[in-house]
């Protein structure tokens, strides 16, 4: 059975984010033109597609980092400013605040929300225990390894107990060993919290390995080239990578990707 938009879970899968008639232009370049898409609730969605097709633009528009030209993005029918969400940048070095200790970076969003200090501390302690984080968070970001810094970024995004978490190529600035470790951390976060997660990845293996659904985009103006299910049980391990289902889904995604690249 080929993976495809109609395949897998029932059409009634509950949408968390609904994107309707989304259009985005940079000057004359049309990146999105009347784009419709539903992001299902409680799933980890990987976004994969050719370089420059608009992956970052998509999550930045959903997270309100850049304005949209037309269309509507709703979260359970609510607007962005009515919900809590987290965003993890690729460039952790520039996203963390170097003047704050790691723990204060993590608690910063609560400070913005005017949560009292004692409660901030209680919540960060809870999060640390929940994720089983053992690194010393009294240090400043520049005293930590890249992976540790990105872990701090992820914790900073999670501290508000977001309804939805966005990550834009969060591991691409890390070395391979650290990337493998961080994939496990992210999987653990997702299993522990069940937060709807949108992960942009430029690594197909990673995109499939971590995802429940893989959103494959075409060159811009970006369209949904395919929306592929990958339902292997969690936690996924090295065995997942050699499993028949993983290999099938990955091959399918690669085929769709190559078809889209050749079109350009």
């Amino acid at each position: 059975m080929p993976a495809g938009p109609m395949d897998g879970a029932p059409a009634a899968e509950r949408a968390h984010v609904t994107i309707r008639g989304l259009s985005k232009r940079f000057g004359n370049a049309v990146i999105y033109d009347k784009f419709d898409f539903d992001i299902p609730r409680g799933k980890l969605i990987s976004v994969f597609g050719p370089n420059g097709c608009g992956k970052s633009t998509l999550i930045n528009m959903i997270a309100g980092l850049i304005p949209i030209n037309e269309g509507e993005i709703l979260f359970d029918g609510k607007r962005l400013n009515e919900i809590k969400f987290g965003y993890v940048f690729q460039n952790y070095r520039e996203a963390l605040f170097p003047w704050l200790r790691a723990i204060d970076n993590i608690e910063y969003p609560l400070k913005v929300m005017k949560v009292p200090s004692a409660e901030r501390q209680a919540r960060s302690e809870k999060l640390i225990a929940h994720l089983g984080v053992k690194i010393d968070l009294k240090r400043y970001p520049y005293e930590m390894s890249g992976g540790q810094q990105q872990l701090v970024s992820i914790m900073r995004a999670l501290i508000v107990e977001p309804e939805i978490l966005f990550l834009d190529e969060p591991f691409s600035a890390l070395d391979y060993e650290m990337t493998l470790f961080m994939r496990e951390q992210l999987q653990r976060v997702f299993q522990e919290t069940g937060t709807t997660t949108v992960l942009v990845s430029h690594d197909l293996e990673e995109a499939v390995y971590l995802a429940d659904r893989i959103l494959l985009l075409s060159r811009h103006p970006a369209l949904v080239a395919d929306f592929v299910h990958f339902d292997d049980a969690r936690p996924r391990t090295d065995e997942t990578l050699s499993g028949a289902e993983f290999i099938r889904v990955k091959a399918h995604c690669l085929e769709v990707f190559q078809r889209e690249v050749r079109k350009g």
């Binding site: 997270a63 309100g64 980092l65 969400f85 965003y87 940048f89 460039n91 520039e94 996203a95 963390l96 605040f97 170097p98 003047w99 910063y108 969003p109 913005v112 929300m113 400043y140 520049y142 900073r156 508000v160």
Partner: protein, 251 residues
């Protein structure tokens, strides 16, 4: 080996003193014009401990600090304000750059007319020069705040004011300290020049000038070294403060 490396800066100092001694010994220069290092350091020691040089040193420090404080008090808030909007800064950039490029000494006659012969003129010209240097650096520090960091604060729901106080201000600190260091150096230069020529009765500039007029060469060299030590010390002071408060600078 590491230990020895720390002593490297002293090599130049010893070299200079040796060359100096040799020059005095060979009488390369008229002995009246070039006293020996011993004579000079003795004059420096006597002047600083109980002599008039110590008082002049203090007066110059006082004027330099006051003018830098005035400069910083104006330039920090103004620089943050101008830097928080790139368009705003661009619209005043030419004026700032123009006056930054104008030699501050050319402003003395104007300030003399405004403030008369006295400390007010010296301090205000120095403050004016230092202010522009600090202003320019603060504004650039704020404008060049990392975009990702501003976005990060924004996605966490920080208001514009919060972004300014929690991110832009701190982001601009390393550059602000560069401005403060350059500003205090410039203030010192202007103060010393003013003390030489603008009806002064004290200050290091006055001491150098008077010693030269009276042909007291050891005193003159001593005052020059005192001025050098002051400039170096002020720079070092700001560096130490920076290292303490802007611990993330350059990391």
């Amino acid at each position: 080996m590491k230990r020895l490396d720390q002593l490297l800066p002293i090599v130049g100092v010893i070299g200079l003193i040796v060359v100096w001694y040799v020059a005095v010994w060979c009488e390369v220069v008229d002995p009246v014009l070039l006293p020996s290092p011993t004579q000079t350091f003795w004059a420096l020691w006597k002047g600083m401990t109980g002599g008039v040089l110590g008082f002049d040193f203090f007066m110059t420090v006082r004027r330099t600090i006051i003018s830098t404080l005035i400069a910083a008090a104006i330039a920090l808030p103004l620089g943050i304000f101008l830097g928080s909007s790139e368009r705003l800064y661009r619209s005043v950039e030419f004026v700032i750059d123009f006056f930054r490029s104008t030699p501050a000494s050319a402003m003395f006659p104007l300030f003399l007319v405004l403030f008369g012969v006295g400390d007010k003129t010296k301090i205000s010209v120095a403050a004016f020069g230092a202010m522009l240097v600090i202003l320019f650096n603060v504004a650039y520090g704020v404008m060049n705040a990392r975009k990702t960091r501003l976005l990060a604060a924004k996605v966490m729901g920080a208001s514009r004011l919060r972004v300014l106080t929690d991110v832009m201000l701190l982001e601009s600190l390393p550059q602000t300290f560069i401005g403060l260091r350059n500003g205090v150096s410039l203030a010192l230069v202007i103060i010393v020049v003013a003390e030489m020529f603008i009806g002064s009765t004290d200050g290091l500039g006055h001491r150098v000038f008077e010693a030269q007029q009276l042909f007291e060469m050891p005193d003159m060299y001593a005052a020059i070294f005192a001025a050098g030590a002051l400039g170096y010390g002020l720079n070092l002071l700001f560096l130490l403060v920076e290292r303490r408060f802007v611990h993330w600078s350059g990391k």
